[in-house]
Amino acid sequence: MAMRQTPLTCSGHTRPVVDLAFSGITPYGYFLISACKDGKPMLRQGDTGDWIGTFLGHKGAVWGATLNTDATKAATAAADFTAKVWDAVSGDEVLTLAHKHIVKSVSFTQDSNCLLTGGNDKVLRIYDLSKPEAAPLEIPGHTSAIKKALWCNGDQQILSAAEDKTIRLWDRTSMEAVKTLSFDTSVSSMEYVADGEILVITYGKTIAFYNALSLDLIKTVEAPASINSASLHPEKDFFVAGGDDFKLYKYDYSTKEELESYKGHFGPVHCVRFSPDGELYASGSEDGTLRLWQTAVGKTYGLWKCVLPGNAQILRFPTQDSPEIKA
C-alpha cells in the first residue's frame, strides 16, 4: 500500500522564515532554530517540531540563525545591525555584538568558542566568545554584501558567499583568500557537509556539489524551477531542494534522478535542511511556516506513525494542550 507524505506544519512565525539550522544529536534529542523576518527566532524540538521557546531581543528581521553542536548556545544575525548569542537552554540573551550594517550569517566553531559573522558591510568577523569585549578579527575582501559564512576544514578555513557572485575560501590563520569561485549569478544558498568535505551550492535552477577543500566541482543537477536552498542527506544518498515554485524536490545523489516532489508550502521555499540523523528534513517558507518532511515516507518516527491494517490503534491519553488545526 503506497503511502503519501504527510508534512508536519510548525506554525508560530508571523512573517517569512528565511533560515533554519539543526543542532547535533544531544542526550535530549536534536533541535531546530528558525530565523524569521518577524524578529523572533524560535527553538523547536527537532524530531517533532514542538515549540520550546522564542528568543526575544532583536529589533529587526532575523536573517540567520544557528545552534552549536550540543544545542546549549544559539546565535542569530539580524537587520538591527547586531548578532546575538543566546543560552539555548534558558532562552536568555548572553551577548550582543554590534555591527555596522545588517548581519546576515552566523556560525559557531565546533568547540563553540568562536563565532563567525558576515553581512552587508562586506567584512567577515571572528569573535572570541571567551573575550567578548575584545575586538573581532576582521577579514575584508568581498565587494558586495555577504550572504553566508561558514567554518570548514576543522575550523581552519572559512567559506563565504556574497552578492558579488563569488564564493571564497579563506585561511583562518593568514586571513587571506586561498581560492575563489565565480558565478554568473548570485549564489542563493550554501551548505557545508563536514563528513566528506562537500559543499552544496544553489544558484538559478542549479544545485551544485563541490569538494570543500579544493573547490573542485563534483556534479551539478538542474531543477525544474529556481532553487533557493538545498541539503545533502548525512549518508549522501539523497539531497532535497526547494525554491520559487513552492515545492520540495527529492533527488538521488548518485544518479541525479528526481525521485519525488512535494507540494505543501503556500509560498517560495527559502531554506531546507536535513536533520542530523537524516530521518527528516525541514523547510522554511515565505508563508511563515516550517514544515517537517519524512525521508522514508511511512516510517514510524517522531510524530509519524506507521499503522498497519488490522492493528489496534495505540492508546493515547489526552493532554492539557489540544492540538490546534490552523489553515
Binding site: 500500500m1 503506497a2 503511502m3 503519501r4 507524505q5 504527510t6 508536519l8 506544519t9 510548525c10 506554525s11 508560530g12 535530549y28 524560535m42 527553538l43 523547536r44 517533532t48 517540531g49 514542538d50 515549540w51 520550546i52 521557546g53 522564542t54 528568543f55 526575544l56 546549549t72 537552554v89 534558558s90 532562552g91 517537517l292 519524512q294 515516507v297 511511512g298 510524530l303 509519524w304 506513525k305 506507521c306 499503522v307 492508546l315 493515547r316 491519553f317 489526552p318 493532554t319 492539557q320 494542550d321 492540538p323 490546534e324 488545526i325 490552523k326
Partner: protein
C-alpha cells in the same frame, strides 16, 4: 490509491503567554547551573546551601523509596482531562519521564502493557 501517513498529533505551537524554555523540563534542570535556589543567589551562604542540599537529598531519597515500594502494586493515576486510571506499576525510567505499567484499566478497555507519560499525571495513590 495512496494513503496519507498517520500522525499522532500536530507539532505544539508557541504559548501565547510566555517565551517558553520550560524550567521544569529535564534538559533545563540538567543543564541550567542555578537549579538550587540558594546557589542562584550570588552571595551563597555555605551553611544554608548545605542545609538545602541535605533537604533535597532527603526528599529525593524518599521519592525513590516510594517508587520502589510501588513496584507490582495497583496504583490509581489522576491525570489531566479528568482521567482516572488504575494499573500495576512496573518501573520508572531514569529521568522519571515515563512509568511502565501493566493491566492498565481504562474506560475503553484493559491495556496489557503501557507507558504512562509522567507529565500527564497530576497525582497517584496506592496502598502501601
Amino acid at each position: 490509491m495512496t494513503t496519507p501517513v498517520s500522525v499522532l498529533r500536530l507539532p505544539r505551537g508557541p504559548d501565547p503567554n510566555s517565551r517558553g524554555f520550560d524550567p521544569s523540563s529535564p534538559r533545563f534542570i540538567a543543564l541550567c547551573a542555578a537549579s538550587i535556589p540558594t546557589s542562584a543567589a550570588s552571595a551563597a551562604d555555605p551553611a544554608r546551601l548545605q542545609e538545602e542540599q541535605r533537604a533535597r537529598s532527603v526528599l529525593r531519597e524518599s521519592f525513590l523509596r516510594c517508587l520502589l515500594s510501588m513496584s507490582n502494586k495497583r496504583v490509581q493515576f489522576h491525570m489531566y482531562e479528568k482521567v482516572k486510571v488504575e494499573a500495576t506499576f512496573g518501573a520508572s525510567d531514569i529521568d522519571v519521564l515515563n512509568f511502565q505499567v501493566s493491566d492498565l484499566q481504562t474506560p475503553i478497555g484493559v491495556q496489557k502493557e503501557a507507558l504512562i507519560r509522567c507529565q500527564d499525571v497530576i497525582s497517584y495513590c496506592f496502598e502501601v
